[in-house]
């Protein structure tokens, strides 16, 4: 059987070296350096700057302005119909008028997702140094297809969800959940090495940072 054969070859190949313990020196940065961000506000500012570097739109809003800003972003795009995870906080869409929001509980058809004008979600965490939002399928995020098929993704990030570095994010996230790390809109370098809006994922990403 090939399982045994492969494992036997591995053991034979390693010989005496097999099982040698290798110590992993973890003296790289686990948090942002003081130079990168001295205060909490700096972390949030760094996150916004890095998200913008990915050619995504970033806006800062107060908690009380969130519903208005969401509505304004959708109006600006003349969105008629959007999809949202069915556990999206009701308040986020409170100001929506003239836009139909489909609540998805895992049943909306792919063809419908392809036809809607966008999707609004929250996130599980965000990384300042890389300008990344991470979705884990938890509250206000929905299944993966929601943020993949529609061409426009509006992602709401609460300032306290933003961590500084990748190690902080890895420590905070649960690998048993379906994770999607999103750094800007889908982008391809394949056609001339210029980052252009990518072939399959949403070609536009808008991030609203909510400062509490």
């Amino acid at each position: 059987m090939s399982r045994e054969r492969v494992l036997r070859s591995v053991r034979a190949a390693l010989g005496e070296a097999r099982g040698t313990e290798v110590n992993v020196p973890r003296d790289y940065h686990h948090r942002l350096t003081g130079e990168e961000a001295g205060s909490r506000a700096d972390v949030v500012a760094l996150f916004s700057e890095r998200v913008a570097d990915h050619r995504a739109t970033v806006r800062h809003v107060g908690a009380d302005e969130l519903a208005t800003t969401v509505a304004a972003a959708l109006w600006a795009r003349e969105a008629k119909r959007i999809v949202v995870p069915d556990d999206l906080p009701y308040g986020w869409l409170a100001q929506l008028e003239g836009v139909q929001a489909l609540a998805d509980a895992g049943t909306v058809d792919v063809a419908v997702l392809d036809a809607v004008d966008g999707v609004v979600t929250g996130c599980a965490a965000a990384v300042a140094r890389t300008g990344t939002v991470v979705l884990d399928g938890g509250r206000a995020q929905g299944r993966r297809a929601l943020t993949l098929v529609p061409d426009y993704h509006l992602c709401v990030v609460h300032a306290d969800q933003i961590v500084g570095t990748v190690p902080e994010a890895v420590a905070r996230l649960d690998p048993y959940r379906p994770l999607t790390w999103i750094s800007g809109p889908a982008a391809t370098l394949d056609l001339g090495l210029r980052r252009v809006p990518g072939v399959h994922g949403p070609r536009e990403l808008e991030v609203l940072v909510v400062e509490d």
């Binding site: 090939s2 492969v6 992993v24 020196p25 790289y28 895992g106 993966r144 959940r177 790390w181 210029r194």
Partner: protein, 496 residues
């Protein structure tokens, strides 16, 4: 611009990769295969420009990370830790994937991996699959095997699409169309892609849109997908896939069945190791702080993604590389391709010269990977360690500190050793043996030297020898040899 008409799609294109099928002709040596690439001036210009861009992006991205060297050292250690207990980690991975609802398959070689994947696709009863091409799926020659089984394969990548439509091989294992500029891709799309808009320009944005329109319906309705992944985390059974365009997300989100083909070396011990590798890989590969998308999945989730997950673990010569204490470091590779963009040989030849010899990985990593996984008996494999100037740039940029130049030299030694016992010695060895015999004794050496000097001076013009006779002529193809002085050092020493 380009050197001629785009060749018609030919079946040889995929079949020529990897040791993948019966009835294959002998593979050419690197130097022979490189001639064709070197004659294509359009391709050389595209490659030169692309590699300069990639180098610049990588340099900026790594310079920005103040802890880059610490990350590299940690990355090296993580990969060594994976390899030195590979058997344990593979068993742990198998258990974790199985516990999370997936199925693990083991393939000792490419043929077995093809059989497994074709069988899994057949079992679904579907005749269409979507695929994110990866070095591993190319290595096993999967597309040809699926086509042979009557399965229709659609790629998700725009560059993969362009390369296939043009009837070419990928020139780079991360950026398959890097040797073609947008104008050439536009022409390929217009000629070969059904439904391409007739007013398509060479703006990459429009090309991406055209590919999106062409691929979308197929991807949205697919039931079976085949992909690779960057890493498999043993501890949790998590598969990790960074990408740019979302094709991988399409594969792991919508279809019911997901088949993931991995090399056994791609396992890493624990989830926490991702904090290192997810920093090293994007910055080294495309000069990005993070890839646009990184997806991770652990087995199957009730409400999200595939209902059936199959992981195929492939050996195909990797354990042969693992057996070499020096060469095994090649298996640390995380597939960033940074060594390609700094390599003066790759920049001039592109990937085709490597692929013609059966190497899926090109550039410096291909030159150390392929001879180890396939052995150095074949002329093509044996020529790869010599496809280098040993300038050392590849080793300097490698994010997991593979000493590529050192391994190249080590493999050159192996090639020579492998030829030592042939009944008819190769010319180089015959010359070396003759020299050893002549130089071993003063009574032989001094007359030989006098003869040699006389002949050399007869061949020289203006103090230089421009062409040596016979086989030695290869040496003077690209350089002159200074004529030796009339009186050798030994004579002058005696007469001092």
């Amino acid at each position: 611009m380009t050197s001629g008409p785009i060749p018609l799609p030919m079946p040889r294109v995929l079949g020529a990769l990897g040791g993948t099928g019966p009835g294959e002709a002998a593979r050419p040596r690197f130097a022979t295969a490189a001639r064709e690439a070197l004659a294509d001036t359009g391709q050389r210009r595209s490659l030169r420009e692309s590699m300069a861009v990639l180098r610049g992006r990588r340099e900026a991205a790594t310079a920005e990370a103040a802890d880059w060297e610490e990350l590299r050292e940690a990355g090296r250690a993580v990969r060594d830790r994976s390899l030195l207990s590979l058997d344990t980690h593979l068993e742990t991975l198998e258990g974790a994937v199985t516990d999370a609802g997936g199925t693990v398959h083991w393939a000792a070689d490419a043929a077995e991996a093809r059989r497994i994947v074709v069988g899994l696709v057949r079992a679904t009863g579907r005749s269409e699959v979507i695929e994110v091409r990866s070095p591993v799926t190319r290595e096993i020659g999967l597309d040809r095997a699926l086509a042979g089984a009557g399965v229709d394969v659609a790629e998700t990548g725009a560059a993969d699409l362009a390369v296939r439509l043009a009837g070419e091989r990928p020139a780079h294992f991360l950026l398959p169309a890097v040797h073609r500029d947008p104008a050439e891709i536009r022409r390929t799309f217009l000629r070969r892609m059904p439904g391409a808009p007739s007013d398509l320009t060479d703006d990459p944005r429009e090309l991406a849109d055209a590919a999106r329109a062409h691929l979308r319906r197929r991807l949205l309705s697919a039931d079976v997908a085949v992909i690779g992944a960057a890493f498999a985390v043993a501890e949790t059974g998590t598969l990790v896939m960074p990408e740019g365009d979302g094709g991988g997300r399409m594969c792991l989100t919508l279809p019911e069945t997901l088949i993931c083909v991995l090399g056994i070396e791609q396992v890493v011990p624990c989830w926490r190791d991702m904090e290192i590798l997810l920093q090293l890989l994007p910055r080294s590969a495309t000069g990005e702080r993070m890839s646009p998308y990184v997806s991770t999945w652990t087995g199957v989730s009730a409400q999200d993604g595939p209902r059936d997950l199959h992981v195929v673990l492939l050996d195909n010569g990797r354990t042969a590389a693992l057996a070499d204490e020096v060469g095994r470091a090649a298996l640390r590779c995380i597939g960033c391709a940074a060594c390609l963009s700094v390599c003066p040989v790759y920049e001039r030849t592109g990937g085709h010269a490597y692929a013609a010899g059966g190497s899926v990985l090109s550039g410096p990593i291909g030159a150390i990977w392929t001879p180890q996984t396939r052995g150095v008996r074949g002329a093509a494999e044996a020529s790869l360690p010599f496809a280098s100037t040993l300038c050392g740039a590849c080793g300097d940029v490698c994010p997991v500190k593979i000493d590529i130049p050192g391994i190249l030299v080590h493999l050159r030694g192996k090639v020579v050793q492998a030829r030592r016992h042939r009944p008819v010695p190769p010319p180089e060895m015959a010359v070396m043996r003759a020299l050893a015999w002549a130089m071993g004794d003063r009574r032989r050496y001094e007359p030989a030297l006098r003869q040699g000097v006389r002949w050399a001076r007869l061949l020289s013009r203006g103090g230089r020898i421009r062409r040596l006779p016979g086989l030695l002529g290869k040496w003077t193809e690209a350089r002159d040899l200074p004529a030796p002085p009339r009186d050798p050092f030994r004579v002058r020493w005696r007469e001092r």
